[in-house]
């Protein structure tokens, strides 16, 4: 019962925050002509307008497609390489300076080069996403590997686990909670980097939509685009990341509550 109440309260506070933003936004926008700083109503109208034209939807689909492909590739590579690095000290020492170097470079900085190399389509954008998300996931997987209790591995081996079974039934679940933390961080960075990369050198995607409308002075669409970026991140958090965490790493948070 109290849990339900708490949930209702949380929702209420969340909606209150939305309302607060809308009020402040409206108040500020009253001081400007709508073509300079449009209010919520103007942006909503623009949203309906864009929806009817259908172009915006295709930009969103393009961005999401890039995100999903890039992120999926990146996560698989980071898992495999992270497990190898966790298992071999030499390989870990080889990777460490590379990881530090790439972690320090903003993924965005690669965009101009990647666009020259790979053209204007999906390929450079997917590459930016991979650069942005690969290292956070990799680092977390490596850390997860380092924190596997020795007794778990010994127990599994003495129960007859070896080879890929040891990897799949013991190592993989052991590192999943850490890996999912990495996925969270990687996701946030790659989503932002993708939008930025689309802004500087794309001809499609939500970032391009914002940049293009900025250039023609359509401020309503710029704000609409910004709202959609945040909204889509929220949506993916609720529909993808949270369920993923609950399904594969729920046990770790249960343990912490002990």
């Amino acid at each position: 019962m109290s849990m339900v109440l708490r949930k209702v309260n949380r929702w209420k506070m969340g909606w209150l925050a939305v309302l607060f933003v809308l009020v402040v936004w409206s108040a500020v926008s009253l001081n400007y002509p709508s073509y300079v700083f449009p209010g919520p109503v103007d942006v909503f109208k623009e949203g309906v307008n864009q929806w009817e034209k259908g172009e915006l939807t295709s930009h969103i689909v393009v961005s999401l497609k890039r995100l999903v492909i890039g992120f999926f590739l990146s996560a698989i590579m980071a898992f495999l390489i992270g497990i190898l690095a966790g298992a071999s000290r030499k390989f870990r020492e080889f990777l460490t300076p590379l990881v530090t170097f790439f972690q320090a470079t903003p993924p965005m900085a690669w965009a101009p080069l990647l666009i020259i190399l790979l053209g204007l389509g999906d390929a450079p954008m997917i590459a930016v996403i991979i650069i942005a998300s690969f290292f956070p996931i990799l680092i977390n997987v490596m850390q997860g590997m380092n924190h596997i209790p020795e007794s778990h591995v010994q127990a599994a081996r003495s129960l007859g686990a070896k080879g890929w079974r040891l990897g799949y039934f013991v190592y993989l679940p052991e590192i999943t909670p850490a890996a999912i933390s990495g996925i969270y961080v990687g996701f946030a960075i790659s989503w932002r980097s993708l939008v930025a990369a689309e802004m500087i050198g794309g001809n499609s995607g939500i970032g391009y939509f914002i940049a293009f409308n900025g250039q023609i002075g359509n401020t309503s669409s710029v704000i609409l685009g910004i709202l959609l970026i945040g909204f889509m991140a929220l949506l993916m958090d609720y529909l993808l990341l949270k369920p993923l965490q609950k399904r594969f790493a729920g046990w770790a948070s249960r343990n912490e509550n002990e």
């Binding site: 007794s151 778990h152 127990a155 999943t176 770790a252 343990n255």
Partner: protein, 249 residues
């Protein structure tokens, strides 16, 4: 009776360290319950790990079922001091783990797991996550997970040291019942004199310097009365040994 484990002239040291174990000789008969007792740091857990095959290089010879021990064998079951239960699996899946790794067919697996969980009294908890169990229950899961694979040798590394006194007594009785029922040869490591006398046929006393000080056969019929004079006799004997060890430091 024939020896299941034969240990000849075994010495061991960790890299760069001085010897942890020196000139260890003893054997473990089939179906017996043997305990390694000694002060902390005497190498009793290390010896258990050697027999389990966790350290492949050592001096001397350790034989299990007539073959030299070089790596972990599925015919030995090990219960760890920290239990090493898999926290992402339920009680049932933990118990099932070994059978699954040994590719036992699903139906057979399920029957065995169910029976084993019943035997340790956890049938009502079989789908519970490990984190929701009490210390004693976790202990039972660890025992069940090891025993369900029907090992020929059960190795226990201070399994009850983290439990409160009452739970420990209950679990010692349960362990004895399982030992009698399944007649699994058992080697226990403990620093508790009472536990050693209550459970074992034979107590091996390990000295601080990593050698065997004495081997004591506990000749009391079961069930053992903790207040009997025979019990007291052994208690005094083992207590004197530990006291001597402390003073020799």
């Amino acid at each position: 009776m024939s020896a299941l484990v034969q240990i000849d002239n075994v010495s061991f040291h960790y890299a760069k360290d001085t010897a942890v174990l020196k000139d260890i000789d003893f054997s473990i008969d089939k179906n017996s319950f043997v305990t390694l007792l000694g002060p902390s740091g005497c190498g009793k857990s290390t010896l258990l790990n050697l027999i389990a095959g966790f350290h492949p290089t050592y001096d001397g010879r350790i034989e299990f079922e007539g073959k030299q021990v070089k790596k972990p064998s599925k015919d030995q079951g090990f219960v760890f001091q920290d239990l090493a239960l898999f926290p992402w699996l339920s009680v049932r899946k933990n118990v099932e783990f070994g059978l699954k790794m040994q590719k036992v067919p699903k139906e057979k697996r399920e029957t065995k797991v169910k029976k084993m969980i019943e035997m340790v009294g956890l049938s009502d908890y079989d789908s519970f996550p490990i984190s929701s169990l009490s210390g004693g229950m976790k202990q039972r899961v660890a025992l069940a997970r090891t025993l369900v694979t029907e090992p020929n040798l059960l190795l226990l590394d201070e399994p009850f040291s983290a439990l409160d006194a009452q739970t420990r007594d209950v679990l010692q009785d349960e362990l004895l019942q399982l030992h009698t029922k399944l007649s699994t040869t058992t080697l226990l490591v403990t620093h508790s004199i009472d536990e050693a006398i209550y459970l074992s046929d034979t107590v091996i006393l390990l000295s601080k310097n990593g050698t065997i000080k004495d081997i004591v056969n506990i000749e009391i019929d079961r069930p053992r009365e903790r207040t009997s004079s025979a019990y007291n006799f052994y208690q005094k004997k083992l207590y004197d040994f530990l006291k001597e060890e402390r003073q020799s430091l």
